[in-house]
């Protein structure tokens, strides 16, 4: 379909990236991280753009995935066939437990209660002294795929991340276009109308929240493997804020917005320190504010607003 073209083009570009000048080690590392946070951002966009649930605790889902890798690694289990399902189930389980309460609220209360649950996960991680507590945990080997150390190869890891991102995007895209997704989208636009025709939005939102949690867990597994190190700071509320910002920076006009937002965000985070030195956040913060103030449709809405200015 035509509206999927930008997303497909973006994914194709990522597939070609290693061969069109982004094949160096640090570039591949940056791209992999962008794709991993892209998975987190797309799953969050399912909530924000699809269900109207602005979660400020999504980093906890990634954290659950990452800590599942850590806990299993510590127990000597490094097979992806076990790690991945456990991680996604753990994140989904956390999403289910907290979602049962959080989804009862809406608007600002939802933002704050997800923030609070995120903090709960953060403090839990910080208190896990068996896994390094505040100092974090270093992975000495990446998760094994079918008994091989496939993920240690940068190029292979690139395509694994790309595959996971494509899967996440495709799944969320499918969900939003389904019966289920229609109820979600309708409840976001007009909850009362949806109830009046006979739907209670709660179970639909909860399921979406759990699915987004599981996908966050997927991102977490890759994150742990990419960094080979996991610390509680990955679960902090600032991280959740960054994920939310990626979604909004990209724009809610389509799920590809979240992918683009993640790439631009990670790019800025990489490039600004090179350009500006230690205190790059002095520029980054105001950039963030300006983009919220002036980039209302996000990056994917930019062409349309530019056309608007051109006409005006």
């Amino acid at each position: 379909m035509r509206r999927d073209l930008p997303a497909i083009a973006f994914l194709l570009l990522l597939a070609m990236a290693p061969f069109i000048g982004f094949g160096e080690g640090h570039q591949l590392t940056l791209l992999a991280r962008s794709m991993i946070f892209g998975i987190g951002a797309v799953s969050l966009a399912l909530l924000v753009g699809g269900a109207g649930l602005a979660s400020l605790g999504h980093a906890a889902m990634l954290g659950f995935g990452a800590y599942a890798v850590v806990v299993l690694d510590d127990a000597g289990i490094t097979s992806m066939a076990i790690v991945l399902p456990v991680a996604m189930l753990a994140a989904a389980g956390f999403a289910l437990l907290t979602g049962v309460i959080a989804i009862r609220t809406s608007g600002v209360h939802f933002i704050m209660i997800t923030l609070a649950f995120g903090q709960m996960a953060y403090f839990t991680a910080a208190s896990l002294s068996a896994y390094g507590g505040d100092d974090g945990y270093t992975l000495y080997g990446r998760t094994e795929v079918f008994g091989t150390r496939l993920l240690e190869n940068r190029l292979a890891f690139h395509y694994v991340c790309l595959g996971a991102l494509t899967f996440t995007w495709g799944l969320c895209r499918l969900l939003l276009a389904s019966r289920f997704g229609r109820v979600l989208r309708a409840a976001r636009e007009n909850e009362l109308r949806v109830q009046a025709v006979g739907f209670s939005p709660y179970p639909y939102r909860l399921v979406a929240y759990v699915i987004a949690g599981a996908l966050g867990g997927l991102a977490g597994v890759l994150l742990a493997n990419s960094a080979e190190f996991i610390a509680p700071s990955y679960l902090s509320w600032q991280r959740s804020g960054e994920l939310l910002f990626m979604v909004i920076l990209g724009g809610l006009g389509g799920l590809h917005g979240a992918m683009i937002g993640a790439l631009v965000f990670m790019g800025l985070e990489e490039w600004l320190p090179h350009l500006l030195g230690e205190h790059w956040r002095l520029v980054f913060g105001p950039l963030l504010i300006l983009s919220v103030l002036f980039l209302r449709g996000g990056l994917v809405g930019l062409p349309a607003s530019l056309r608007g200015i051109g006409r005006g």
Binding site: L174, R179, R182, L192, V194, Q195, G198
Partner: protein, 251 residues
């Protein structure tokens, strides 16, 4: 008389010290339009909200199709065939006109916990949705974004959404509100056609419309029913004339 489809028994509701519904009992039998009229602030919309479950009652019972639905949620009542239109248009502006109606069909046809198949092309939903749109004269507008419709068309869409839920009873809250003279004529025609198929509880300000449409009329004043009867009886009722009609409407 036939078994009533909807029966309200002694409904009570107060907001703080204000009694907004005070011992209301009425019924709607299959095939009739039962209109509820009354001056502004009489508690008409409140009554609809109580019947649909948007507001919880302090006391009294709502019986629909022989079942006590007093403690059911709005969604559960809708699934049993209680459909409403809103006084202030409540549609999904970002959805297409067809999708607005298809969502309502979807509520009655199979599970909505289906995750894979694209819903936009589901003929089982779009067919009945289109039929509902055609029943209110919006068939040609199906592909437009609902937000782009004119005010009168949005009122028609409200009706279509209600019809698409395959209701047994329509609760229409001022379906003519804000419509111009031409639109009013068109909407009254539509309502007359709907009358053949559905029982309707109609709340309306436009007396001409009420007298043209209703089989029975109940008059609500300050949360109390002061009279129920045929159009002729209500026109002749002294208490009604004093409380309400005498003002200006019965010229």
């Amino acid at each position: 008389m036939a078994e009533p489809l909807l029966e309200l028994r002694d409904l009570q509701k107060s907001f703080g010290g204000l009694r907004v519904t005070d011992g209301v009992s009425l019924d709607v039998v299959p095939g009739e339009i039962h209109a509820v009229i009354g001056p502004n602030g009489a508690g008409k919309t409140t009554l609809i909200n109580e019947i649909t479950g948007r507001l919880l009652l302090d006391a009294g019972r709502v019986i629909f199709g022989g079942e006590d639905v007093t403690h059911l949620s709005m969604a559960a009542r809708a699934r049993r065939g209680l459909a409403r239109s809103f006084q202030i248009t409540s549609i999904l502006p970002g959805f297409s006109v067809l999708e607005n109606a298809a969502l309502a069909v979807q509520a009655r046809h199979g599970s909505s916990f289906r995750f894979c198949r694209p819903v936009a092309g589901e003929a089982a939903l779009n067919g009945p949705a289109l039929a509902a749109l055609e029943a209110v004269g919006l068939g040609t507008r199906a592909a437009l974004p609902a937000g782009s419709l004119s005010h009168g068309e949005k009122r028609q869409l409200e009706l279509a959404i209600a019809l698409a839920t395959e209701p047994r009873l329509l609760l229409l809250d001022e379906p003519l509100a804000g419509a111009g003279p031409e639109e009013t004529t068109r909407l009254i025609e539509i309502l007359l056609r709907l009358k053949q198929q559905y029982a309707i509880l109609l709340i309306e300000h436009d007396m001409q419309a009420v007298f043209a449409l209703a089989d029975r009329v109940s008059v609500l004043v300050y949360g109390r029913l002061i009279a129920t009867g045929t159009v002729a009886e209500i026109r002749a009722d002294a208490a009604v004339r004093a409380a309400y009609l005498g003002e200006d409407e019965l010229a």
